[in-house]
C-alpha cells in the first residue's frame, strides 16, 4: 500500500512520456492530458484521504531501509500540497487549449506540463535532501522549456535571466548539500535532523542553514532575491504563468518550512528572527511593486511577493498559530494565484492589451468574468467570508502572541495596499462607459470562465468551509512543530 505515495509522481511522469508520442495529434493529446490530469487529481485526493485516516505513509524505494535508500514521505502537509497542485493542474490543462496556439501545443507543451507537475509533486513528497535537489531540477528544466515555448523576443530575454539565476541557485544548492553531507554524513532529512539535534546545531551548522535558506529564498522570491521574478513570470503564455505563479515559488516556501521546522530550529534567535525581518521587507517591497505598474499581468506577478512574505512571516514567528496560518495561507495562495493569473490572461486576451489605461467598461461585455475577478481580488486581500481572511487572521494572531506589533501593522497595511492594487484593475478595467466598438468574443470568454470558476469554488470552500479544513491544518502545524514524530516515523526506532 505504501506505493500509493509514489503515484502522484509516477502518473504525471508516464502521462508526459505518452504525451510526447502523441505530440502531433493535438485532439488526442488534449483529451489524453485532461483525462490523466483528472485521474491524477482523483489519486491525490484518495492519497490525502488515506493519509488523514491512517497517518503518515513512508515509501522506501527499492526496499532499502530509511537512511540508506531514498524515501518518499507522505504526511498531511505533503498530501495537502500535492492535492492543491493537482487541482491547479486540472484547471490549467482545461484552460490551455484556448490559451495556446496549436503550434505551441504540438511542440510538447503537455509533456513539459506533466514533467512540471512531476517535479512539484516529487519535491513535496521526498524525504531526502539530494532527491529534493533532483526534483527541483526536474521542475526547473520543465519550466525553462515552458517559459521559451513560442519563442517571442521578450520570452527569450526573460528566460535568459530566469535560467541564469536558477542555475546559480541550483549550484549553490549542490554546494550546500555537499557542506551538510561533510558535516553530518547523510542526506536523509530525518537523519540530518537527528544528528543536528544531537549537537544542538553547534558550530558551522547555522551557517549551512542560512545558506540553505538563501537557496530556497531565491526560488521563493524573497526580499533581496526577488528582482528576477515579476518580469520573467509575465513573459510566457498565461497558462504557463499561472503554473509558475501558483507552484514554483511555493515549492521554495515549502522547503523552507520543512528544513527550518525539522532540522534547523535550535537557534531561532538567529535564523527565525532574520526571517521575520526579511518577511517584513518582502511584504513592503512586493506591494510597492504591485502599485508601481499599469500592466495587469505585472500587478498580479508582483502580488506573488507579498504572499510569500506572509508565509515566511508565519515560519519566522514559529508558534502553533502562526504555522497554521502559514500552511493555510500557502494552500489558499496557490489556488488564488493560479486563478488570478488565468483571469488576467483572459482579460488581456479579450481586451487585446494588458495596459490598464487602455481598458474600459469590460463588465458590460463580460459580466461573469468581471464578478469572478472581484471575488478573486477580495479573496486575495482577505475579506472575511473568503479564504484569504482565515490565513491572515491566524498569522496576525500568531504575531500578537509574540507581541510583534510592528509586524501586525506591516501585515495590515500590506493587505490594504494589495486590495488597492487589485481593485484598481477592477475599477479602471471593468467599470466605465460601454465601448460599443468592441465585438465581444463570448465563446472565448466562456471557455476561459470554466477553469477559473473551478479554482474559485475551491477558494470559496476554503473560506466558508474553514471548520472542515482547519483540523488538518492544525495537524500539519503540530507535526511541523514536533519534529521527533517525523524522525520516528521515518527512521522507525
Amino acid at each position: 500500500m505504501s506505493n500509493l505515495v509514489v503515484l502522484p509522481i509516477l502518473i504525471p511522469l508516464i502521462s508526459g512520456i505518452i504525451a510526447a508520442f502523441l505530440h502531433r495529434k493535438i485532439g488526442a493529446v488534449r483529451i489524453f492530458s485532461r483525462l490523466m490530469a483528472v485521474i491524477n487529481l482523483g489519486v491525490a485526493a484518495y492519497m490525502g484521504w488515506f493519509i488523514t485516516q491512517n497517518g503518515t505513509i513512508i515509501l522506501e524505494t527499492g526496499g532499502w531501509k530509511a537512511p540508506y535508500g531514498i524515501i518518499l514521505v507522505g504526511d498531511t502537509l505533503s498530501a495537502l500540497l500535492v492535492l492543491t497542485t493537482n487541482v491547479i493542474a486540472t484547471a490549467c490543462v482545461f484552460y490551455a487549449s484556448r490559451s495556446l496556439t496549436n503550434k505551441q501545443e504540438s511542440f510538447y507543451f503537455y509533456t513539459f506540463f506533466f514533467l512540471l507537475i512531476t517535479g512539484v509533486s516529487g519535491a513535496f513528497l521526498t524525504g531526502d535532501l539530494f532527491n529534493l535537489f533532483v526534483f527541483f531540477e526536474v521542475l526547473l528544466m520543465a519550466s525553462y522549456a515552458l517559459i521559451v515555448l513560442g519563442n517571442g523576443k521578450i520570452q527569450l530575454r526573460e528566460s535568459l535571466k530566469y535560467v541564469l539565476l536558477n542555475l546559480f541557485s541550483s549550484m549553490l544548492f549542490v554546494t550546500v548539500v555537499a557542506f551538510l553531507y561533510s558535516v553530518v554524513g547523510t542526506v536523509n532529512m530525518a537523519q540530518i535532523a537527528e544528528r543536528v539535534q544531537e549537537v544542538e546545531q553547534k558550530g558551522v551548522l547555522t551557517t549551512i542553514g542560512i545558506l540553505l535558506f538563501f537557496v530556497f529564498g531565491t526560488k521563493a522570491a524573497l526580499f533581496p532575491l526577488y528582482y528576477w521574478l515579476p518580469k520573467s513570470y509575465i513573459a510566457p503564455n498565461p497558462v504557463v504563468s499561472a503554473l509558475f505563479g501558483a507552484l514554483l515559488t511555493k515549492v521554495g516556501i515549502y522547503s523552507i518550512m520543512r528544513t527550518f521546522s525539522i532540522i534547523f530550529y535550535h537557534k531561532t534567535d538567529v535564523t527565525h528572527e532574520m526571517f521575520i525581518w526579511i518577511a517584513a521587507f518582502t511584504l513592503l517591497f512586493g506591494v510597492i511593486g504591485a502599485l508601481s505598474t499599469h500592466n495587469v499581468k505585472l500587478i498580479v506577478a508582483y502580488n506573488i511577493i507579498p504572499a510569500v512574505g506572509f508565509m515566511l512571516l508565519g515560519i519566522g514567528l514559529f508558534n502553533g498559530t502562526s504555522m497554521e496560518g502559514s500552511v493555510y495561507y500557502l494552500v489558499h495562495d496557490m489556488i488564488i494565484k493560479a486563478a488570478l493569473f488565468l483571469l488576467v490572461g483572459a482579460i488581456a486576451y479579450l481586451a487585446g492589451t494588458s495596459d490598464l489605461r487602455k481598458m474600459n467598461g469590460l463588465i458590460h461585455h463580460y459580466p461573469v468574468l468581471g464578478w469572478l475577478f472581484l471575488i478573486a481580488s477580495v479573496t486575495l486581500a482577505g475579506i472575511p467570508p473568503f479564504s484569504g481572511f482565515i490565513g491572515k487572521l491566524l498569522l496576525l494572531q500568531g504575531a500578537a502572541q509574540e507581541e510583534r506589533i510592528i509586524m501586525i501593522i506591516v501585515g495590515l497595511v500590506t493587505s490594504l495596499l494589495i486590495l488597492y492594487s487589485m481593485i484598481r484593475i477592477f475599477i479602471q478595467g471593468f467599470w466605465g462607459e460601454k465601448d460599443e466598438t468592441i465585438v465581444p468574443d463570448k465563446k472565448a470568454a466562456r471557455s476561459f470562465t470554466g477553469p477559473i470558476a473551478f479554482l474559485l469554488v475551491f477558494s470559496i470552500f476554503l473560506g466558508i468551509g474553514a471548520e472542515f479544513v482547519l483540523p488538518s491544518v492544525e495537524d500539519v502545524s503540530n507535526s511541523l512543530l514536533n519534529p521527533s514524530s517525523y524522525i520516528q516515523s521515518v527512521l522507525k526506532e
Binding site: L13, F21, G62
Partner: protein
Amino acid sequence: MKTSTNDLILRTTTTLIAFILLAFSIYLFLAGHNAPGGGFIGGLMTGAAIVLMYMTYGYDAVQKILPVNFRTMIPVGLLIAVLTGAGSFVFGEPFLSQTFKHLHHVPLLGDVELATALLFDLGVYLTVVGITMTIILTIANDQ
C-alpha cells in the same frame, strides 16, 4: 555548401573505427554492473560513434542506413526506465525494487547473472543516445 572533396582516408578509417566504437559502447553498457561503465557512458559512446558517421558521410547517407527518429527514442527510453520501476507494483514490492537471477549453462556464455537493473540501464542508454543525437542534429541542421 561543401562540394566534392577527396576524403578517402577519413571514410575508410571511419568504417573501421565506428564499428569498434559501437562495440566498445555496448561493452561499456553491459559492464556497468561490476566494472566502470553503464547506461550513461555507453549511450554517450554510441552517440559519439553515430556523430563520427554523420561527420564523415553527411546527413542523408546516415539517415538512409540508420532510419531512426532520435527524438522518439527519448520517450521510448524514459518509458522503459519508468516501467521497470513500476513493474515492482505487480509483485507488491516498493517502487523501483530490482531483482536478479543466475542462469547456469547458457550456451556460449556459461553462467550469467541477469538483473532487472539492466533494463533500467537500457532506458537510460536509449534516452542518452536520443538526447545527444537530437541536440547535435538539431543544431547541425539549423539553417
